[in-house]
Symmetry: C2
Subunit: 210 residues, 2 copies
DNA sequence: TCTCGATTTAAACAAATGATTAAATCAATA
DNA sequence: TATTGATTTAATCATTTGTTTAAATCGAGA
């Protein structure tokens, strides 16, 4: 039984991994279950045997992507570090993750928007987010004048803009700048250093116009 | 004849406009020609009568979107303004356009990536871009120490990150911050002011570590 | 070895989809 | 009014797509 379960789990996991790669690259609507079956060296009936339907398979893939996507942010929230350290940590972790998973942010944004069956909106992403230690820390720093005053959502948008856009726009950047992969990676490194410099000097400005 | 041509043009234009709305919202693969025909109060045969195929209709829509998307950037490039004025101009114009066309950036990025038939790569977006007056101006300012030194592509990525991400991530922002449309619009206004402040103080720093 | 449940496969089905056909309608003009 | 070409429509076609069925294969335990 242990062996059966093992084989089962690995077949199922293999299909899920293949499905993830294709869904992430071509989107839900652009992917057929035959694409997945073929790439996984199996057949469409087996997909439905393990996952019941294309949509249920997709939901699993999407939820996993969402978890990975938010992992570094959630991780950041409740650690015993300064705000500045946490933000630097977030940038480093996100760049590492996104360099290996360039397509994830665009995939998630596109599916949230084009999704009509609303299962995404039921995932309750906002849970306990704004009440976390991080945002209390931030508020405190703002009150003390150690940090520029703004709403939490503004802060998050400002930071994530500078992290994620360069990944979401990868195809266009490579196109208009006529880059190869090596040049793109070099851009990533330069960009990462630059946004730390810019964000830190903006967020932790030398207090005067508090 | 003039009347025939007029009616023709308006029917064709009406279909194109409806198609654009649906393609932009649901993506190429997620859109059926029957979706479009129904929304345009006509039938699938008429779509093919005017546009020959779903793909040819899509190409027209996509090219138009691309033109609009780059309009403010191209407009900026060769005007008689200072670098700082041009960048402020770009931010203002893009925010105006994107507020009315929130879905365009995500649409374009997604289609560039999931597109397999490569017609996009043949559109030669890079033409004369890097040789424009704007980048000569920028280079000059950098040499003079009026502006922080960086590659042109870095500068563009830095600016566009801060403009476009807030639009591309709209569905997620509204979801995790539990915003309504009014709150989102308020966020846009605050963000626009903020990024001008941040970018200008970073790009046009008080010269010292030139 | 035989049995039985789990896994895998080939084949088929119904619905959806992009495209086409052929006929109907319209509108200008001879 | 009759003709002609442009436009619009309903119906149909062939293929693709998600799903299901039924049979085959596998592997552990009796």
């Amino acid at each position: 039984m242990s062996k059966v379960a093992q084989v089962t789990a690995s077949t199922e996991e293999h299909i899920r991994a293949v499905a993830k790669r294709i869904f992430v690259s071509k989107g839900y609507a652009g992917t057929t279950i035959r694409d997945i079956a073929e790439a996984a060296n199996t057949n469409v009936a087996l997909l439905n045997y393990y996952f019941r339907s294309k949509e249920k398979l997709f939901v699993q893939v999407f939820e996993e992507s969402l978890r990975e996507f938010f992992a570094s942010m959630l991780n950041m929230l409740n650690q015993e570090l300064t705000v500045r350290e946490k933000i630097e940590n977030l940038i480093d972790r996100d760049f590492d993750f996104l360099t290996q998973n360039t397509e994830i942010p665009l995939f998630i944004m596109h599916e949230i928007r084009s999704n009509e069956s609303n299962f995404i909106k039921e995932m309750a992403l906002h849970n306990h987010f704004w009440e976390s230690y991080f945002f209390r820390q931030v508020n405190e720093a703002m009150v003390k004048g150690e940090m520029r005053k703004m709403e939490s959502i503004e802060l998050i948008v400002l930071i994530l803009s500078n992290i994620q856009f360069v990944f979401m726009a990868k195809p266009m950047i490579m196109l208009i700048a006529q880059m190869d992969d090596a040049a793109y990676l070099a851009l990533l490194q330069a960009h990462k250093i630059r946004i730390k410099e810019m964000l830190f000097s903006y967020l932790f400005f030398k207090q005067e116009n508090l």
